[in-house]
Symmetry: C2
Subunit: 437 residues, 2 copies
């Protein structure tokens, strides 16, 4: 007999856990769809040259090869390691059959053969949304994408989360106004803002002057004490072109986000965050579960001037956000130990009372399914009542319906609520979905 | 620049085609769920030894390997080539955490590196349902599975289809009653029933006598002329134990299928079909699109006494049906050239009338999304009206909403139906989903 193990760090769920993962994926998909992001579904496998184009770390990649081919040393296909490179290839390949701006979503698996780490799997789901343009991309695209991610996370209903938002033009302009030369070095230090004690000596070393350091420390504090656009009043008396532009853009995004769904409890302007120094992304975001800020960001984002530079001579500016579904679920499990409920999709088990009554049992099943309630009849008509109840109990099916000889005579059905063991009799024609909540 | 091609025989859809594939998958999933089949989702990759267990054709299999490992000759992981071997491994691995009978569904991709063929891809979706027991499996399991597949196919609403059904006990018993010895050889010949002319010489060669051959030819005709259980009246005067058992079982299944959803136009008893000689599956099915019977079966089935024989010492009898989603779509495209409609999920484009009116445009978007209508605002507030209309036209978005200066003064919105170019004015507070059908 073979080993009965899946491969390590490739996870799979029991049916009761899968119900939760499925609810997550369905909720995210419907949130994305409501905002007009169309589904795409690219192959799991790409040509090596396609994936190589991004210059990624080969070590993490799974090569794919037909068995029994002559040349075994050469991998001409790889499993995708994210959904972005396939998207770039897709857009370039189908450019003339697509209309831009293009809004897409893809919820799919990717594979990375990396070293096992907490909250990371080697096979994992991401739920991406992308806006791809062929021209220049408007600031409003960010409003659309952030409000969509917000409503997806909000609809998942897992607890409070906070999206920190900044425009690095503000940070840069502010440092300019302090007459600091080494702006990128300073930003790198500020980025470690969680440990104020470690920042000061580093800033002194640069060297910055005391009044410059004091101003930076003030900046680090403002988003702790103030909320909403008020945060930006800190910069009221500073004149700097880049700063002012940054404030205009951020105000635009923030206020339109509020006009949409976004709650002001879930979004915080934080002029101190920078997340590295890539100048293509002036806007920066960090998304955390409230109370668990030390845990990695639960949603990622990117903005790039040209998605398809490796595949096409046209320029495709691009905005991307992604919810790491597998990672988010694994984080939530570890901090809240998610409660599983039913071990099956069924809401109702109809007891199979067999032979003559089987057609009437089936009529009940048919009626309930017609009303869109997941219902099953116990599969063995010879099984004892107690065995059938035990099955419902094992699977945490909430309701059991009994229609036996006695019920048949009286034209009634018995409905048993398994949790409370309560039972009620109703007339057969009263059976409808409102009895099962 | 790299080649911008996906790999041949790995298909991917444009957004408008993907909408159809998505509708197929969603419909099938909800049909399966309504019947109480729980979702599982096993990894795409299995250990080589797991997949080898079934003794399949290595040539068709894709090996998987981390790049940059020392030993490049040895594949210890393979991409799955169906959803059944992973299911068998899953059941054996999690045996003690699962409750039986277990009803599962899995809609997922598999990979086969086979020779390109019409209607076959190398990466394809199947939608499986399985009932796995740990004991013996009831005949009612077949009723449950067939009625579920029927309702899934019926809900897909692609046209008429017919499920041919037989119990090979009937065919075997019938041949016994004719005193034929070479039963399996005879069944093999009858299996070619489409060409009656070729059957007779083969039966003569066996050799069978003229009256035996005549009786067989009569058998081949009955399902052409009769419907429902009447087909079985052909056997009324024949006494044979196996035949009678077969008729009892088939009558049981057929009549319970009718009690459930199944239309008698969609199911036909056909005592002549056999589909090979595997004695584990007395019941046989063939599912065709009406008018396209020459095309391969659009749904497959299997019944086996022990799913997990390679992985577990427990016996797990098993019933399986599967809809080949990618193949079905590809067949439907080739026979009916499926019409695509919208090129996006959005039902409404709200014209972006910009600056001061942007917040009010957004209010409209928010309200429509709250009512669960996929809505988007054009992403660029500086784009001309004609450009925005062109975008809606290119994507076949059915409705456009306009809220500009003039509408703002009058507290109205304009709704334009793009197909007919009709336009109507409504008061802003009258905006609701019933206006968009």
């Amino acid at each position: 007999m073979s080993k009965t193990k899946s491969i390590s760090w490739f996870y799979e769920n029991l049916p009761e856990e899968q119900l939760i993962e499925d609810r997550f994926k369905t909720t995210i998909k419907s949130s994305y769809t409501l905002s007009g992001f169309s589904v795409i579904d690219t192959p799991a496998i790409e040509r090596t040259e396609t994936l190589l184009s991004k210059g990624s770390d080969d070590n993490e990649i799974y090569g794919v090869k037909r068995l029994k081919t002559d040349d075994i040393t050469d991998f001409d296909m790889w499993l995708r390691f994210d959904l972005t490179v396939p998207l770039a290839r897709y857009v370039a390949q189908h450019e003339w059959n697509l209309s831009f701006p293009l809004k897409t979503q893809q919820i799919g698996k990717s594979w990375r053969g990396e070293r096992p780490q907490k909250w990371r799997y080697r096979e994992f789901y991401q739920a991406d949304i992308d806006i791809i343009w062929n021209g220049s991309i408007s600031l409003f695209a960010d409003v659309e994408v952030v409000s969509t991610i917000y409503s997806a996370l909000n609809n998942l209903n897992f607890g409070d989360f906070l999206i920190n938002i900044n425009n690095k033009k503000i940070l840069t302009g502010f440092l300019e106004s302090l007459w600091i030369d080494k702006i990128s070095e300073t930003i790198s230090i500020i980025d470690k803002k969680d440990k104020v004690k470690t920042i000061v000596p580093l800033l002194e070393e640069l060297p910055l002057e005391k009044n410059q350091i004091d101003s930076i420390l003030e900046l680090l504090k403002i988003s702790e004490n103030q909320k909403g656009l008020e945060v930006l009043s800190f910069f009221d008396n500073i004149q700097n072109e880049m700063l002012e532009e940054g404030i205009r853009e951020l105000t635009y995004i923030y206020s339109h986000l509020l006009t949409m769904w976004v709650s002001d409890n879930a979004i915080q302007i934080n002029p101190a965050i920078s997340r590295g120094l890539n100048y293509y992304t002036w806007l920066v975001f960090e998304t955390f579960i409230v109370g668990n800020e030390s845990v990695w960001s639960i949603a990622s984002w990117w903005r790039y001037e040209n998605l398809c530079s490796n595949f096409s001579s046209s320029a495709f500016p691009w905005v991307w956000w992604s919810i790491g579904v597998s990672r988010l679920l694994s984080i939530l499990k570890s901090i809240w130990s998610i409660q599983t409920g039913k071990k099956t999709v069924s809401d109702i088990l109809v007891i199979n009372t067999g032979s003559n009554l089987l057609p009437k049992n089936l009529e009940i099943v048919k009626e309930l399914r017609k009303q869109w309630i997941s219902t099953e009849l116990y599969l063995d008509e010879n099984a004892k009542f107690s065995k059938q109840i035990k099955y419902a109990n094992n699977k945490n099916i909430p309701y059991v319906i009994i229609y036996g000889e006695e019920e048949d005579e009286k034209w009634i059905v018995q409905i048993k609520v398994l949790e409370s063991w309560e039972q009620k009799e109703i007339k057969i024609w009263e059976l409808n979905k409102n009895l099962f909540i």
